[in-house]
Structures are given as C-alpha cells and as structure tokens.
C-alpha cells in the first residue's frame, strides 16, 4: 500500500472519521463531579456579544476542560497508580514513611516566608498594646504544622524538609505573647494529627483548647469534662491527590455538668460563618464577651470551647478583609486569634487595620 493508492486514501479518510468520532465520544462521555477549588464553569451562552468579544470561546474552553466526561476517571486512575508505587501523585502532598501524607506547603512555604522578616514580634506587640489600652485581653495562638510534630514519620528527608520550618518555630517560640504547643505536643504519646489530613485531629485540637482555656483562666477545665465519640473523617490530603479516603477518628467535645450552652450560627451576606455560644450555670465561666478569630484548625476544637465561655463568638480570619463584617459583631472584652503555623504571617496586617481591634 503506497500513499497514492486510491484505497489508501479511502482508508485514510475512514481512519480520520474513526479517530474524530472516538475523540468526540470521549468528550461527551457522562461526567461525574469532583470537588475542586474553583467554581464549576457556566454553560456556554450563545450571544452576539459573546461571539464578538471572544467570551463564548473562553466559556467553551472552560466547559470542555472541567466537565470532560472521563476526567474524574483519569484523575483517580493516576492517583491510585502512583500511590500503588508508594509515591505521591502531586507535589502538593509529600508521602512520608509508611505512606503517611503531609502537606508540602508546611515545608515549602516555610522557606519562602522567613517569619522574622515579617516582623511578627513587633506587629503582635503593637496589637497587644492597642488591645490593652482599649481594655481588652489579646492572645495569639499558633497551631503546629503536622510535619513539625510528626517529624519522625518523614523519613530520611526530615532534616532537609524541616530546615526552614524549624527556624520559624524557634522564632515563634521566642515571642512571649504567642501561645504555642510544640513542646507539649511532642511530649504526647497520642496521635494528634489525622493520617490523611493536613490538620490536627479532634484529640490534638482538644489538647490545644484545654491549654488555651487554662491559660485564659487557670484550672477551668476539669478532668472528666471531655467526651469522646467515633466518626469517619475524609482527609484533605487524599482529596488533594484526587481520592477520597475515610479514616476512623475520635471526636472530642466538652460536656460540663451544671452548664447550659446555647449555640447558633449564621452565614453573613458576604458568606462568612459566624458561630455563637452562650453559656450559663453554676460552674465557673470565662466572663465577658470573647471573640475567636480562626482558620480551619478551629473546626477540630470548636466543640470544646463553648461550655467554658459566657459569651463566645467565632469568625473566620478571612472576614477581617471585610471590616464591615467585623464591625457588625460589636465590641468584645477578649480577642483570641488561632492560626496554623504555615499561615501565621498572612492577614496580620488585617488585624492591625480593624479600627476597634
């Protein structure tokens, strides 16, 4: 068969039609949704303006890229194949010994954010002084990264991975106004972090909460206050790798006899979830109005705090970028900021910018 044979060109045409058909069938294969950090693309809107501006082409491109039918299959196939080889499919996740995943940002981010250069010490002193002048208590609490506690699970690359992280840790521990937990966490025999998640687990979160509560009001947490139950947890690190993997975890909550706690929450117009706990009863309570400004670590110790505060409000730290959201909450007697180690430097300027803070 030579290129000039009539039968060869006919077969070439058939091959082109067959190839094109296979590609189009793949394109229109039924899609299954995947959780992603981006809004699902809108369906392409046919309009004159869309055509002339090129927006229609962009919509088609986004829709094809994201809604591609075989995409979820491709993602899971690669993830499973790579994990089967004992490695991580994505640079966002580092696999330590025994296949335990860690968030790479814990190690990488530390090297691009020399905390001393962010003048955190000076900034926190400035904030604390302003709060004191306004008659408020202020506490900045830092949650250790998973890698900095479970370092023995990182394998032979431990020292290289944690080189910058350790420098930042030493700097944070040298600031007296910061509450940290490295030493107490390292001394613990319990698993304080999820296996497949970048966060501490409920046990780690409650351990930290108890330390914080006792720091605000020594002796307020009594033995027997904490109650444990079991649940299944889906780890974010596996989601980052394109998979969902459940692990059984111990959920810790606080139940204080003689204390009645009312809980409510609302989503503000700008989408921030504000939670409130109001407690009353015979037992000792931390009095006044308390505001906790937090990141995602709060999800795993929030159930411990409520029964110890007379009036507790929590708001995600991102709300600070919308000062009106904070202002509408009113004034507080005590402000606690809880941040994970890898995010300590971000949003500090927002704290400074809030008028009433």
């Amino acid at each position: 068969m030579t290129p000039s044979d009539p039968s060869a060109t006919r077969r070439g045409r058939i091959a082109a039609i067959g190839f094109s058909t296979v590609l189009l069938v793949a394109l229109f294969f039924p899609a299954s949704a995947i959780d992603e950090n981006k809004a699902p693309p809108a369906a392409p809107q046919l309009s004159i303006e869309g055509i002339t501006s090129g927006a229609l082409l962009g919509q088609i491109r986004d829709a094809v890229s994201t809604n591609f039918g075989l995409r979820s299959l491709a993602i899971q196939t690669i993830a499973r194949a790579t994990l089967a080889l004992g490695a991580s499919p994505t640079p966002m996740v580092y696999l330590g010994e025994d296949g335990e995943p860690f968030l790479s940002e814990d190690f990488v981010g530390a090297c691009s954010t020399n905390l001393e250069a962010f003048h955190i010490h000076e900034t926190l002193d400035e904030i604390a002084a302003a709060q004191k002048a306004a008659g408020r208590e202020f506490l900045f609490a830092v949650v250790p990264d998973k890698g900095s506690i479970d370092r023995d699970k990182l394998g032979s690359a431990e020292d290289s991975l944690l080189a910058c992280n350790d420098v930042n840790r030493a700097y944070l521990e040298s600031i007296p106004t910061i509450m940290t937990a490295w030493n107490s966490f390292e001394a613990s025999d319990d698993e304080l972090y999820f296996f497949g998640d970048s966060h501490w687990n409920y046990v780690g979160g409650s351990r930290f909460a108890v330390e914080l509560l006792n720091r605000v009001q020594p002796g307020i947490v009594q033995p027997g206050d904490l109650v444990e139950t079991q649940e299944q947890h889906s780890g974010d690190l596996f989601l980052l790798m394109g998979l969902e993997q459940l692990e059984t975890t111990t959920v810790v909550t606080a139940e204080r006899s003689g204390v009645d706690t009312q809980y409510d929450s609302e989503v503000t117009p700008l989408g921030y979830t504000v939670q409130r706990w109001r407690s009353s009863g015979d037992a000792a309570l931390i009095t006044g109005r308390t505001l906790i400004v937090h990141d995602s670590t709060f999800a795993y110790n929030s159930a411990v705090y409520g029964p110890y505060f007379e009036d507790l409000t929590s708001v995600p730290i991102q709300a600070l970028s919308d000062p009106g959201e904070i202002a509408r909450l009113g004034d507080y007697d005590r402000v606690i900021v809880q941040r994970v180690q890898r995010g300590v430097q971000s949003d500090l300027d927002l704290l400074l910018a809030i008028d009433w803070l």
Partner: protein, 471 residues
C-alpha cells in the same frame, strides 16, 4: 488555544478532520481550513487576529509589486520598506514595551504580544524576499496565500515553513492516505507525549525553583543545578514536542512541513547544536541574513560580523530584554571560538566535548529563563557558590514520580543513534517523506497508548483540588 489542551484534542481537531473527510471539495477544504485556522487564532489571541490579517494583506500586496522591472537601487529600497512594514507589529508589541520600560516609562507595560506574531511575521517576510529574489512566483489567490500564513499547525510555534515547500499542497486537493494519516497521528501523539509527559512535568518544578530565585532568595547549589537541568529538559521537550505535533497535524491535513529538531542535546559543538536546534529558524537567518551579509566568502572578519549580526537578531527575535542578548552573546562567542580554533570541524575528544556541550547548554539556558540580569547573576552565582545544604524542600516534594519519569525519558533520549531523531529511531523513518520505511504496525498501537497516557496526564494536570483548609 494550544495543541495540548482538551478543547483542541477533543473538540477542535475532530471537527477539523471530520469536515475535511466528509466534504471532498477543494474549495470547501480551503475555506474550512482557513476559517478554522482563523478561529484557532482568535481562540488564543482574540482581536489580535486583525494584526495578522494586516500583515497578510501587506505581504500579499508586496507579491504584486513588479520587482523585476525596478532598478536595483529601487528594488532594495522598496524591499526594505516592505520588510519594515511587515515588522512594524513585532517592533511595536515585542520591543517597544521593554525599551520604554528601560527608559523608565510604563506607558506600554500593559501591551500584550499577540500570540505567534514572530513566527507569523517571519513566514510573511520569507515569502516577500523569495518573490523579490524571483525564486518563487507570487501567489495570486488571496485565500491560498492566507492559508499558507494562517494554517493552524505552524501558526504559534513553527516550524517556519517556506511558501515553496507547501505551494503545491496549497493549490491541490489534499488528502492523507492511511500510511500518511497513521504517520501523522503517531507523530502528533509522540509530540503530545513529549509536551505533556515530560515538558509540563519538569516545567512545573523548574518554574517553582526559578520563582524562588526571582523572589530574591538564594538557592542551594544542588537546587540551582536541578532547576537549570529541569529547564533545559523542559524547553527542548516542549518546543520539539510542539514541532512534532505541528508536523504530525500537517500530514493529517495533507501538508508536509520541514523538520525542526534533530536531537540537539547530542551535539559536541555549538555549531552542531545550531544545525540541530530549531532548524527552520537557523535556515531562515542563514538564507535571509547570513548569506546576504557575505557569509564566509569574504574573509574572517566579515564572517564573524555576519555571525554576530545573526545572533543579535536571533536574540532579539526571542525577546527584547538584556538576558536574551546575553544568551545570544554566549552562543555567538562560542561559535566564533570554535571557528577560530578549528574545534568546529575537529573530531577529537567527542565524548568529552558532548559532556561539556551539555553543561554549556544547561548553563546558557539560564538567561533565557530568568527575567532580569539580577536574577541571572544570582542564579549563576548559586550554581557555582551556592550552599551545600542539599535540595530545598520544594525540590524534595516536587520530585514526584511524574517528574522522575520525565527526567528518565530525557536521559534515555541522550542514548541511541545520533543521526536519527528519537521518533526516527523508533519508527524507522527520519521524515514524513520516507513513509515506505515507516513501521506502521508498531506505530499505531504505540501511538494509541501514548495518546491515552498523554490524555490522562493532561486531564490530571488540570485538576485543582478542593482546598478547604484555605476557606
């Protein structure tokens, strides 16, 4: 739009092929391909297509100038004027912003370079000069001429195709036979795999390492070298992969494009490197700049002057910053040293020279990747006097199996017969014109496997996991 995107692979390409296969009329073929090529460009660059239309019309009109009736002096003056007109967009979009920036003005900072303007302009200039020289007859049909410039496989990243090379195919009824379609499909998937499985994987980590340097942070010795090696792998596999895809697509559409790469990293001299790297660009500068300046026929000084001019223009073609000039300066200096010392034609110590050449290639790509001389100085300095701390965390976490596989493929590509491309060595043919030796029965299953794997990786790369800890 790029070839390695889901919208191209699974929507644009099948629509193009189906139209051509189902409606077998020459006029329809031409309009279908021209229309979709224009859409391809609009999809990537929007209204900048009007600039390309203007360049097309100017080059087409220049073909109608009665060059042979003009005096020598007027022919030259008019040719210079036409070339200047064709180069105006490239001068405005590519060189004015950095020049204005260097002068302290940010008036043009927001000006974006139209996609593929350099390649498009060089196609147009080559056509005008060839008509001027009388080596080709002007194209009378505006549709076919527009198709020559616009046809989407070479539109964004080459190869730079001479009008004479595809003139007959522009005028005739184009139809790929089964061997041609099989070759085109396999060549395309070979290039897609080079781009998606190798270049994109190493490129991500290279980008992160160079970003640290750009941020003003020093890199350890090992990290700096890793970044430079990764970038050298990325730029070759990316660019040559794109050329493979373009050549493969062209065959599927009934065109034959010239080869553009021939294992340049296996060179033992800089001279040889430029005979193997981006060959159609080297050919362009040789024929339209080096030879007209006298080449090597008028003494050593004139030869070196022509060489320096070529590399000055090559540097500027790639970009209007000082770093590109440094890159071009390194290569031109090495070329002149090779010519002056006789190393160019020497066959001694080839293995040692291949190793040294690899080092030169890796080091000389650094100015290509860094944006400023400060970044370049810091990077080169880190490659020599960087700390011995080992790899940075970003490199440890970034060396995923995908990156390691990509690096292994890059190493394997350095092994094998030096005279053949990797594709040629596997499939038995060096170009699309030697299909009788093409290993069809091996190519199709391997092509399908590569296509499936590349598609999986492509779809994976677009995955943006839900990061709820950043809520």
């Amino acid at each position: 739009m790029v070839f390695s995107s889901p919208v191209f692979l699974f929507l644009f390409l099948p629509v193009v092929l189906l139209g051509l296969a189902l409606v077998r009329l020459r006029r329809f073929q031409a309009f279908w391909l021209l229309g979709l090529s224009a859409l391809f460009y609009i999809w990537g660059a929007g209204q900048a297509v009007l600039i390309l239309v203007a360049v097309t019309l100017a080059a087409y009109a220049a073909g109608w100038i009665p060059w042979q009736r003009l005096t020598v002096r007027w022919r030259r003056v008019l040719l210079a004027a036409v070339i200047l007109v064709l180069l105006l967009p490239i001068l405005f979009f590519k060189y004015l912003p950095p020049l204005a920036g260097a002068a302290g003005s940010d008036a043009f900072a927001a000006v974006a370079i139209p996609l593929g303007i350099s390649f498009f302009t060089f196609h147009a200039v080559s056509y005008v000069i060839d008509v001027w020289r009388g080596t080709i007859v002007r194209e009378r049909n505006l549709r076919d001429f527009s198709l020559y410039l616009f046809v989407f496989p070479h539109q964004i990243a080459g190869p730079i195709v001479r009008y004479a090379e595809i003139r007959d195919e522009l005028h005739g009824f184009r139809e790929a036979s089964l061997p041609q379609f099989g070759y085109g499909f396999t060549r395309f998937t070979w290039g897609l795999a080079k781009k998606v499985i190798v270049a994109d994987q190493v490129g991500r980590l290279a980008g992160e390492i160079f970003a640290i340097n750009a941020g003003g942070t020093d890199l350890s010795l090992a990290t700096a070298w890793l970044g430079a090696v990764l970038y050298a792998v990325q730029i070759y596999f990316d660019f040559s992969g794109y050329s493979d895809m373009a050549i493969g697509l062209a065959i599927m559409l009934g065109f034959h494009f010239p080869e553009n790469f021939a294992q340049p990293y296996r060179s033992w001299s800089v001279t040889e490197f430029w005979r193997r790297w981006h060959m159609t660009l080297s050919r362009w500068f040789r024929d339209y700049v080096y030879f007209p300046l006298g080449g090597n026929r008028h003494g050593v000084l004139r030869e070196y002057g022509a060489l320096l001019t070529v590399f000055l223009l090559t540097s500027l073609w790639h970009g209007g910053t000082l770093n590109f000039l440094i890159w071009g300066g390194l290569h031109s200096a090495a070329l002149i040293i090779e010519r002056a010392t006789g190393l160019r034609d020497s066959q001694r110590l080839l293995i040692v020279r291949r190793v040294l050449m690899l080092l030169f290639i890796i080091i000389s790509w650094v100015p290509f990747r860094t944006a400023t001389t400060d970044q370049l100085g810091r990077y080169w300095s880190n490659m020599v006097t960087g700390s011995l701390d080992g790899l940075a965390p970003i490199a440890i976490t970034g060396l995923t199996p995908a990156v390691l596989i990509a690096l292994a493929i890059a190493v394997i590509s350095l092994i094998g017969p030096a005279r053949s491309t990797g594709f040629g060595a596997v499939f038995g043919t060096r170009s699309s014109l030697e299909l009788e030796r093409f290993r069809f029965r091996l190519a199709i299953p391997l092509g399908i496997v590569l296509f499936v794997i590349s598609s999986l990786v492509l779809l994976w790369s677009n995955f943006s996991p839900f990061l709820y800890f950043q809520f």
